[in-house]
């Protein structure tokens, strides 16, 4: 009953936001709107389970978007997402979304939601943006060192074309791009924290380190799971400030943010032996960080450093799902290289370290992650080959991915590839070792 009310309330809030966003500028400047760009992307993604050859992924999505302009200062950017899936991968949970960010249509197999809805105004060197938007910070690819303002989709683990897949949130952003100093201040009044796979779906977190140290099936009949309240818009708002400056040809930035963690902390709410209740909570934490980007001939070097003084985490204890806060330090180094003969190579290394303490955290004290990507275009980029390995050097697990993309026409592209996951079932990658897949993607953009 309460879920139904919450869903209806979420829909009302979203529709109201949509109408407000569209209506206000429309009333004033309807006659001066100019379409700057407009496109729709229709995509079908199908994957077969590598072990048994069954269809494990079958997802159809339609993503229309439009950019409008009014007068000399106003911009409106809108995008929607309609998805349908009937498979073992699923569309992911939306319980970790705020009511205002939830899909307008939320079925088991079909969803329709607002991907982006932003109204911006320029004031000289300043730009103010209001609406549902992303705040992409950080300079590394997919490794989230400082890039932790936005929540991300994890329903497909990391087996997506673009990483991370950001989730837009309702909020306000002010950017200043003056002589020398660049400032980016963002506030998301939207407690959306992530999108995980639903219980029982292929990429449901299975490693004990992601389940508060618990082994076994959390979705089993004897344990009830719930999300913490995601409707506290002010209490769980995210605030962030990023300052950037050029040093010669290098770009440096410093940033600080405060908001709910995007990884769940498992809390035991009720230890009733008949049906224990576990809550996925997202306590607030602060982060300070810095980035550096330095071009050097045919290479660009990227570095990030972040410190979270009070990272909430589950600990190993005689009391199940106990938790604590520890200092967490993340560092990453990456390099883009335009190699000879048209090859592009990207290599990255990241270290994620948790301060020691008693009791020990359920996750390893130090994770070392590396990524290596190579790609090349052929026949005037009609055909592209890309291959990458993502691996945890500390756990000895990883994924090897390879794909061919064929741009059949300006509108139609076809891709085929495989993702092979390997390693220990307790590892970040190895937990999904049974989810290796062969896949194909057909995309029509018009």
């Amino acid at each position: 009953m309460s879920q139904s009310l919450q869903r209806r309330s979420s829909r009302r809030i979203s529709i109201a936001a949509l109408c407000l966003s569209l209506g206000l500028p429309g009333l004033t400047w309807a006659s001066t709107f100019e379409t700057v760009s407009q496109r729709s992307e229709l995509e079908y993604w199908v994957g077969a389970d590598g072990e048994e050859g069954r269809i494990a992924l079958s997802r159809l999505s339609l993503r229309p978007s439009i950019q409008l302009r009014a007068g000399t200062h106003w911009d409106i950017d809108m995008a929607a997402r309609l998805e349908a899936a009937y498979d073992r991968t699923g569309l992911g949970t939306v319980r970790s979304f705020s009511p205002a960010a939830r899909p307008l249509i939320d079925g088991d197999h079909v969803r329709l939601g607002i991907d982006r809805l932003v109204i911006s105004r320029r004031f000289g060197d300043n730009r103010l943006s209001l609406g549902k938007q992303t705040v992409p910070w950080g300079v590394l690819d997919g490794l989230q060192i400082t890039d932790r303002f936005d929540p991300v989709r994890r329903r497909d683990f990391v087996l997506t074309e673009v990483r991370p897949e950001r989730l837009a949130r309702w909020g306000l952003r002010w950017r200043h791009d003056g002589e020398g100093l660049r400032a980016d201040l963002a506030v998301a009044f939207d407690p959306t924290v992530n999108q995980l796979a639903q219980s029982g779906d292929r990429f449901e977190p299975m490693a004990p380190r992601l389940r508060g140290g618990l082994d076994g099936d959390l979705a089993g009949a004897s344990i009830a799971l719930r999300q913490s309240d995601r409707g506290r818009y002010w209490h769980d708002a995210t605030f962030g400030l990023r300052l950037g400056h050029s040093l010669g040809r290098a770009d440096v930035s410093l940033l600080a943010l405060s908001g709910p963690d995007t990884d769940p902390l498992l809390q035991l709410i009720s230890s009733d032996s008949r049906q224990p209740l576990i809550e996925l909570d997202y306590p607030r934490r602060e982060l300070i960080g810095a980035t550096l980007e330095v071009p050097e001939g045919s290479r660009v070097w990227r570095m990030e450093l972040a410190h979270i003084p009070d990272q909430p985490l589950n600990t190993e204890s005689t009391t199940p799902l106990s938790s604590d806060r520890r200092g967490r330090t993340l560092a990453g180094l990456g390099m883009d290289w335009n190699a000879p003969r048209g090859w592009f190579v990207n290599a990255q290394l990241a270290v994620d370290h948790i301060d020691g303490g008693r009791p020990e955290a359920v996750r390893p004290r130090t994770d070392v992650i590396t990524t290596l990507r190579a790609q090349r275009g052929f026949m005037q980029d009609e055909l592209k080959w890309r291959s990458e390995i993502l691996a945890s050097l500390s756990d000895g697990d990883g994924v090897v991915r390879s794909a061919f993309d064929w741009q059949a026409s300006d509108a139609l592209s076809l891709s085929m590839g495989f993702d092979w996951l390997f390693g220990t079932r307790k590892g970040l990658f190895g937990q999904y070792r049974d989810a290796s897949q062969l896949w194909s993607r057909t995309r029509l953009v018009f």
Binding site: R69, D75, D177, R182, P295, D336
Partner: protein
Amino acid sequence: MLERRLNRLSRASLLLSLLFMSASQAEEPSAQPWSDNPEGVALGQLIHARPASSGRVGVMNFHLINKRGRSRERTALMAHSEIEETTRVAIYFTSPASIQNTVFLNHEHVSQDNDSWLYLPATERVRRLPASERADPFMGTDLSYGDIRDNFRFPIEHWEFRAGALVSERDRELRILEGQARNEESAREMGYGRFEALIDETTLFPVRIEYFDIHDKALKQVTVSQVGQVGEAWTALSFEVENHQTGHRTEVFFEDMRFVPDLNERVFQPTALADGLPRIP
């Protein structure tokens, strides 16, 4: 600024005429060794120093045609500016939908390496690109990144020049200019070992360039079919690039090319690329 450039151009033209006068009285220049051809060097330098508008904007249309005759099309807003020692080019793709809102930005500096950025809407980030690899194809066209940067000039740090005779073509007198990469490193970086070009000395624009690869095999032919004066400078408005080795060709033509001397700085700022198509009055 304009006056200074025109004066520089007239002085250079005079010098060139004198050089060619003396050359015509002497032996056939193309027979001269590369290291001893002042006419070629002078012409190469003139082309390199050809004035460019401080700001121009136009709609750039690409037709990409493969050897089977299948055609793909690209349209982009191109903004170009040369101020002091920096040449800046921004290309905002507007169609087809699959690459809409993709932006390429390049700052070429005289005294240091170039800076390039690419904005891909899917990643939502402006990505700094590694410099060099001028020879890499630009966005699936037959132009290389170097071609885009050079804008029908021959970088004098990479080329040795040799001027040839005047030839008549379509009622125009055109000067033969040959170029040879200064060394293996230059050849490898450009993807060209040498070129043969026909130069219109009035506009200092090549009418046709035949490029040879580093193994001296015919690589591609660039044909400039239309130039126009935009502001104080000549600009190619229509040209074609044909790759002899792949059979692929790229036709490029500009529409609505106009002189915008006070082009907004934001058009060329990397951080502004994610904001989409710039407003240009």
